[in-house]
């Protein structure tokens, strides 16, 4: 792999919190790379440090040790856009204004670009709508469009779809793959959803709850235009991950 093929390289990241009971290790020395155009999933049980890891990569929190490096590309791009686990669409702004707020200075007035992103996430016709009281899915679409409007190298998603019913999630998984096929950014998704991760990820990293370390790597089957084959291999891998989750 060439040196500049990675979007993000995390090396020996660790984070501890001091609680009344003593120092609590959230992330034990962990490292990985996200490649260009890749959807990498960090899969782990609840409270295994996935959110903290993503926030460190986004620059929201600082690690106790280790380094985060974003790949250098020709184009001027934002390093990372972050979509938190709770809805982040601002309820006092319309869909259009939410997207503009994330755009680079000087580009906010570019109506064509806003239209391009609202269309990409299926919100065309809803530009003037206010996200207050809208569904989680609607607000996720806004967050996704805003993230894309920032022209990031990488979109970090902290399980923003976890509240959705499994059958509704599929529509959004398809949407994520669809927009990835049109853009040249990567996605790093932290989740507890094993099936979802196996259906849309290019690579899965398992994060252990106790140590907060990445302990295993899985490569789901190669995707075709028809989707991913749900066969014995799929169920075998799923059983292996479940065993890790619940052991």
């Amino acid at each position: 792999m060439a040196e500049n093929d990675f979007i993000l390289k995390a090396e020996k990241i660790s984070k501890r919190y001091i609680s009344p009971a003593g120092a609590l290790s959230i992330i034990g020395e962990t490292g990985f790379e996200v490649l260009k155009g890749e959807l990498l999933t960090i899969l782990g049980p609840p409270a295994s440090g996935k959110s903290t890891l993503l926030k460190i990569l986004a620059g929201i929190e600082t690690p106790d040790s280790g380094s985060v490096t974003y790949g250098q590309f020709q184009e001027v791009k934002t390093d990372a856009a972050f979509i938190p686990s709770e809805p982040s669409a601002l309820p006092w702004l319309s869909v259009e204004e939410n997207i503009r707020l994330g755009m680079r200075a000087g580009q906010e007035q570019d109506t064509e670009t806003v239209r391009k992103f609202t269309q990409a996430v299926g919100l065309n016709g809803y530009e003037k709508h206010i996200p207050a009281n809208k569904s989680t899915g609607f607000r996720f679409r806004i967050a996704l469009a805003r993230a894309m409007a920032m022209e990031p190298k990488l979109i970090l998603m902290d399980d923003p779809l976890r509240e959705l019913l499994p059958e509704r999630k599929m529509d959004y998984y398809k949407l994520i793959r669809q927009i990835m096929s049109k853009g040249d950014f990567g996605v790093l998704w932290a989740t507890t959803d094993i099936t979802g991760a196996m259906l849309i990820s290019d690579r899965i990293l398992l994060q252990e709850q106790k140590s907060g370390r990445i302990v295993r790597e899985f490569h789901p089957a190669k995707r075709s235009t028809a989707g991913i084959p749900v066969d014995d291999e799929f169920f075998g891998m799923r059983a292996e991950i479940e065993l890790f989750f619940y052991s």
Binding site: K55, A58, G59, I60, T78, A80, A81, F82, I83, P84, S85, E86, P87, S88, L90, P91, W92, L101, G102, I130, A132, A143, R146, A147, M150, L156
Partner: protein, 253 residues
Amino acid sequence: MSEYFSEKRKLRKYAWFLAYLLAYILIFEFLIPPGRILPGPSLVLESFPSLQMHYGFLKNALYTTSGIYLSMVLAYGLIWLFRVWVTGLLLRAKDFLESIRLFRYLTAISFITIYIYWFPVSNLSEILFTFLLALGYLLNVISRDLGKVKRSYIEPFIALKKEDSFLYKNIYWQSVKPSLFSSLQRLNIRLWSIVLFFEYVKAYMGIGNIYRLALSFNDISGLVAISVLSGLIIALGEYVLKLLKRKVITWEI
């Protein structure tokens, strides 16, 4: 459905008000001899014109009302004008603000008497007093609510390395606006209570001063009439503030 229940609740509220009014008329007009506890309604009605004749009610009401609402507008306007600095400062000065809250054990009378001792009696000194009260109250509300702003609104923009001033103006300020507008309604009632007390002690002008005069003349029907009229002004103020909130704030956090 919820609108139906809220309409029903509103109707019940008005029905209770009418019941209180009816009870007051029955008890104090027909059952209890007038003037013992409260004046009869007919006496109160007769007092309304005399409020203007004997106490110059309109001029004093205008003095108090304009002072209160001008101060509220000035306090809000000043905070709005410097919202980026105010938000940044309040976020950084949490410990200092906590220490100021220790003064809450001092009652209104402490501040009022010391203030009157410092400043000579004038219209301006009363407006300044009301303005400081409104400003302090609103800053306290903002400071309290800044801690409740959702991280999920802020974090995407920290990841984008947006400047602090961007966050203060576009996220923090907008997030506290709904509760700030709700607090204006509470401020309305609190300001009225404290300012009337201030005017009572200061004995210069305003509705509070009329209360003092009416009490010194043992004018119980005058006192009730003043209470009814000032209550109506306060209720009208609250109604206008509610309307304003409905127009300006279309979201809840």
